[in-house]
Symmetry: C2
Subunit: 164 residues, 2 copies
Amino acid sequence: MRDQFDLSEFLPYRLAVLSERVSKRVALAYSESHGLTVPEWRVLVHLSRCRQVSVREIHNCVNLEKPRVSRAVARLEAARLVDKAESQQDHRLVDISLTEAGRKLLDAIVPEALAVEQRLLSGLSEGDQERLLELMERLHSVLDADPRAAKRSRMDLGDSDGPA
Amino acid sequence: MRDQFDLSEFLPYRLAVLSERVSKRVALAYSESHGLTVPEWRVLVHLSRCRQVSVREIHNCVNLEKPRVSRAVARLEAARLVDKAESQQDHRLVDISLTEAGRKLLDAIVPEALAVEQRLLSGLSEGDQERLLELMERLHSVLDADPRAAKRSRMDLGDSDGPA
DNA sequence: TGACACTCGTTGCAAGTGAAACGATATTGC
DNA sequence: GCAATATCGTTTCACTTGCAACGAGTGTCA
């Protein structure tokens, strides 16, 4: 039992602090060296898996609000890292795809990002790593059952590539 | 080995997603009902443990940049939830303290926040909870040894109340 | 065919943010 | 005692953010 509310023992706070610290460290790999923001990085990474996607697709997959995706894509297009084209099937949609420069940039950044992740995980045995992910998953499950919690995006649930 | 970079399996991303989802859920306890922002909430909570503190103190303890603390305190003062007074010992410092209204607000919010945390943890045994914290701590340790990582704030290390 | 509801991506707006610069106060070294 | 330096909290500036509203395109159903 806790006699006094202590922020530093409050799980949501601890998660926020750890997450922010990790994010900042990883960001060095794409922000400092290559001038990318978090949304831009997420969009690029998502594009590396999906040839052509719409803003909505990205929004659903990488936990970014629609306007954030739209603006990130606009900046990436200005930097010639992605191409935008009106979809032929549905003229409301936009087909977003990596340019050659975008692909090259990713090829340079991804290994750095993975290296940071590897370093992070270096203190954990493989069993520990699985345990950590499993425990995080368990927290998600509670939120999945909570009607007042934000819905989880499709991709984060394990769907590999979206709908057929 | 990973043949393709998959954001949804990237630990920093997973941490960010979980943390944000948890934060949003907790925020319902103080944002929706009582109109507080995250920085304001952190400041209030910190004040509940320390009678009188400076902006710097708060900055060091709750992972908020100095300007963010300053502005949060200004808003809280406008809402009559905290008092600001020039320190007598050092005229550069500001003594920030809870008003009676601030204390009452916290008394109303804290149980809600704890309830959310309890619900979150309800899926985990006590052993699991300890394991989760321990694994998170292990990730912090790696960053502690990384010169390019952000430094950890004093309070998050376990120092209960700051310097003598 | 036409009216209605819906979805798409974008944009306007008000608010929040971080980095750097600021005035004011304290401290240090001579 | 006094200049130089450091620290405090605030503010300025450019930028990002989220929400809501928007115009444009699509689907639905009579």
